[in-house]
């Protein structure tokens, strides 16, 4: 749903130009990649004068690197042809071709130098002197046989079972001959014939080919979401060096809901903006390595710092009020909430002083653990709060729907909450990653500006979060709606600023790190 659908509620400018934190890319359906594959095959088939099926095997063998293939092929065509599993060694060169002993020479048609790679199968029953029994199944009722260019003959049933298993169970696209030690690879028409009655496996085979093509091409990446067949093309993020200045978050396909969002530059399957891949990876590794130390933080209960009674967090808001003593405090830093509303709010900043003062090794290591926990605590909290606010919203949503029935509110009028929850979720993801970034940022002006933006966004998000947890009654809806809508617009702006400024900082090389970071000197 577009923001425009909310009428006057959200006055956000239309997206016209690409923002610094966004990246140019294209989402390709499998058919589009199949066309790219076909183009490469046609190209090679044309210049070598070989059949498409042979060109495909040659390209697959060279991981779709056309230039390298052409170079190697010009150098020694028969060696490449053998290595790619197209011809058996002895028949690699035309001069070494012996008479075709098995079935005349109908299949011996030569295309510019080498033997046609496979017979169309199932081949007609072979005219052998005595009845031929397939050496795999020993089933003498079999009448249809096939072989690759090596003439290792097996029954069609065995070929089909074998090829199906290779594709389905092993995800293999280069399917070797069934004979022991034979390196010939089944060309596509052979595979297709074997799978005549199984279009689903043939489909899967084509997907495997596309996946191999995509994996071999640095400009492309396959969508990591299960059973999605889209590919994203993002040449700007193809080089390692590009990843020190951009965070290539992409979304596949036009219609997945929620959209398949992932990083083009690394294996993280979520939006880790504004942090670049190498920092994100370092942070996740650190969290994994220190998971035990930090485990206690994930617990959903804490003690009130005033009366020590147990308090459970059940929403996304960090403004806690003790049920017993009414003490108001911040869930993250456990400090009094009153301080969070003022100019000297500093829940997001870690006071580095302690680390400087620490003299002996023990207090140094304690200081470094404390420092890590400061950032980890906030990181984990945003993650947890985002989840909790979505859960809480599920309850609210039900209530709103009921209200829509009992009061005279329209559907549009109750949607403002949903929009706000989505925004809170998005911003908490940004905030979460800003803590990973701040952990590695070198002290100084730039870090302070970064943390100012972080603080402003965080405060805005906490305010909105709190509003979302208000008791919903039909009477208050109009005012609440106005407040929530205003705050949502504001939060969204703060998020823009956070993302935009951080992205610019990467392009300008403004960020300095307190540890060596991959790609930076």
């Amino acid at each position: 749903m577009d923001m425009d659908d909310f009428g006057d509620d959200f006055k956000v400018p239309q997206r016209t130009v690409r923002k610094t934190y966004e990246i140019e890319y294209e989402s390709l359906p499998q058919s589009a990649v199949e066309r790219l594959v076909a183009n490469d095959i046609d190209h090679i088939s044309g210049i070598f004068g070989v059949e498409a099926s042979a060109a495909s095997l040659l390209l697959r063998y060279m991981n779709w690197n056309k230039e390298r293939l052409i170079e190697k092929y010009m150098d020694n065509a028969s060696a490449v042809t053998v290595a790619a599993g197209i011809s058996p060694p002895s028949r690699a060169s035309p001069s070494a071709l012996g008479p075709d002993r098995s079935q005349g020479s109908s299949s011996g048609t030569r295309t510019s130098g080498f033997r046609r790679s496979a017979r169309q199968t199932p081949a007609p029953p072979k005219a052998k002197p005595q009845p031929f029994v397939c050496p795999i199944c020993f089933d003498d009722t079999q009448a249809s046989f096939a072989a690759l260019a090596c003439d290792h003959t097996f029954c069609s049933g065995c070929w089909t079972a074998y090829i199906t298993g290779k594709i389905r169970e092993e995800g293999e696209h280069a399917i070797r001959c069934m004979a022991e030690g034979c390196a010939l690879v089944a060309p596509d028409p052979f595979v297709r014939t074997a799978l005549t009655d199984d279009p689903e496996t043939w489909e899967r085979f084509n997907e495997l080919l596309v996946r191999h093509f995509v994996a071999s091409n640095p400009n492309l990446k396959y969508c990591p979401y299960p059973s999605c067949t889209y590919t994203v093309s993002c040449p700007t993020a193809a080089s390692k060096s590009a990843l020190t200045t951009i965070v290539p978050i992409v979304t596949c396909g036009p219609d997945a809901n929620p959209p398949h969002r992932f990083c083009f530059g690394c294996p993280i399957e979520s939006d880790h903006r504004p942090v670049i891949c190498s920092i994100a990876k370092m942070w996740l590794k650190k969290c994994r390595d220190d998971s035990e130390t930090a485990n206690w933080i994930k617990s959903n209960t804490k003690e009130c710092s005033n009366c020590q009674s147990t308090i459970e967090k059940n929403g996304g808001c960090n403004h806690m009020t003790c049920k017993k003593c009414k003490h108001e405090f911040c869930w993250v830093c456990m400090g009094p909430w009153s301080e969070h509303g003022t100019a000297w709010y500093s829940c997001n900043r870690y006071d580095e002083k302690g680390g400087v003062d620490a003299r002996d090794a023990q207090s140094k290591s304690r200081a470094s653990l404390e420092r890590y926990l400061h950032y980890y605590n906030r990181w984990a909290n945003h993650e947890q709060s985002a989840k909790l606010s979505v859960e809480l919203y599920a309850k609210t949503e039900k209530k709103m729907e009921e209200m829509q029935v009992t009061s005279n509110l329209t559907w549009i009028e109750v949607q403002f909450m949903k929009k706000a929850v989505d925004e809170v979720f998005k911003c908490r993801m940004t905030l979460k990653w800003t803590y990973a970034m701040a952990y590695y940022l070198e002290k100084g002006n730039e870090k302070e500006l970064f943390e100012d933006n972080q603080r402003d966004l965080e405060r805005a998000v906490e305010d909105l979060s709190e509003l979302l947890e208000s008791q919903i009654e039909p009477e208050i809806i109009p005012t609440l709606r106005q407040k929530v809508t205003d705050k949502t617009v504001y939060v969204s702006k703060r998020n823009e600023i956070m993302l935009e400024d951080t992205a610019k900082g990467f392009l300008e090389g403004r960020w300095q790190w307190n540890v060596p970071v991959e790609g930076f000197d």
Binding site: P135, I136, C137, F138, D139, F154, G157, C158, A161, Y162, G165, K166, E169, M178, A179, E180, G181, C182
Partner: protein, 219 residues
């Protein structure tokens, strides 16, 4: 009939009829898909004289998927796990071909016993032993053949005095080395364990200082 069943039944029958071969395949229970293979250890190897039993599981998609085999008999060999009997052999993995049979695979296992491949080990400790001293390795392998596979071994029949030596010989260590550290007050089983792990054998023993061994023993 099920293709796998037909194929396995034929394989079992062919193996029974082949009187010249010394490879045996027997049923374990009523299922033709769980079998036990056995073959004699090859001549002129430390495994000579022993009979080696192999657990065979025929998977659902056999023969298009490799048969699963592991040694039941304990074997001292770089490519066979001394603990589990697991085998590192290419044809049991990627190099499997549907034309291979249970019998041909068992023959491959038999020839694996003739030609250890310590650079691609299944059992790293045994492989190290092999690389350090082939002679000492062979002695241990022969001893294992003797006590686990019913082979003759090098030491003739076991007498009672030798029973105490057992665990040292099984670990492929030297009596004098073990008693040296045992003399310092460490338990024999612990000493054997540490010396075996550190490959305290042949020329390698000179490379390992007593301190390092004691460090390990104290852990």
């Amino acid at each position: 009939m099920d293709a796998r069943l037909r194929r396995v039944n034929k394989e079992i029958a062919d193996c029974k009829n082949d009187k010249a071969s010394n490879i045996k395949i027997d049923l374990v229970d009523s299922s033709p898909f769980h079998l036990k293979g056995s073959f004699p250890g090859p001549k002129d190897t430390p495994y000579e004289g022993g009979v080696f039993e192999v657990d065979i599981v025929v998977p659902e998609s056999y023969p298009f998927q490799a048969v699963k085999m592991k040694f039941i008999t304990k074997v001292y060999h770089p490519n066979i796990s001394s603990a589990s009997g697991a085998i590192c052999l290419d044809i049991l993995k990627d190099a499997w071909s549907p034309v291979l049979t249970l019998k041909s695979t068992l023959i491959s296992l038999q020839s694996l016993l003739c030609s250890p491949e310590p650079n691609d080990p299944q059992d790293a400790e045994v492989a190290k032993h092999y690389m350090t001293s082939k002679k000492s390795f062979e002695e241990t392998a022969r001893y294992w053949t003797h006590i686990y596979a019913g082979g003759l071994g090098s030491k003739g029949k076991v007498d009672t005095k030798e029973a105490a030596k057992d665990e040292i010989a099984i670990a492929g260590l030297e009596q004098t080395h073990v008693t040296q550290f045992e003399g310092l007050g460490f338990e024999r089983s612990k000493v054997i364990d540490v010396l075996r792990r550190m490959n305290y054998r042949g020329s390698n023993a000179a490379n390992i200082s007593d301190e390092r061994i004691i460090d390990e023993l104290l852990k």
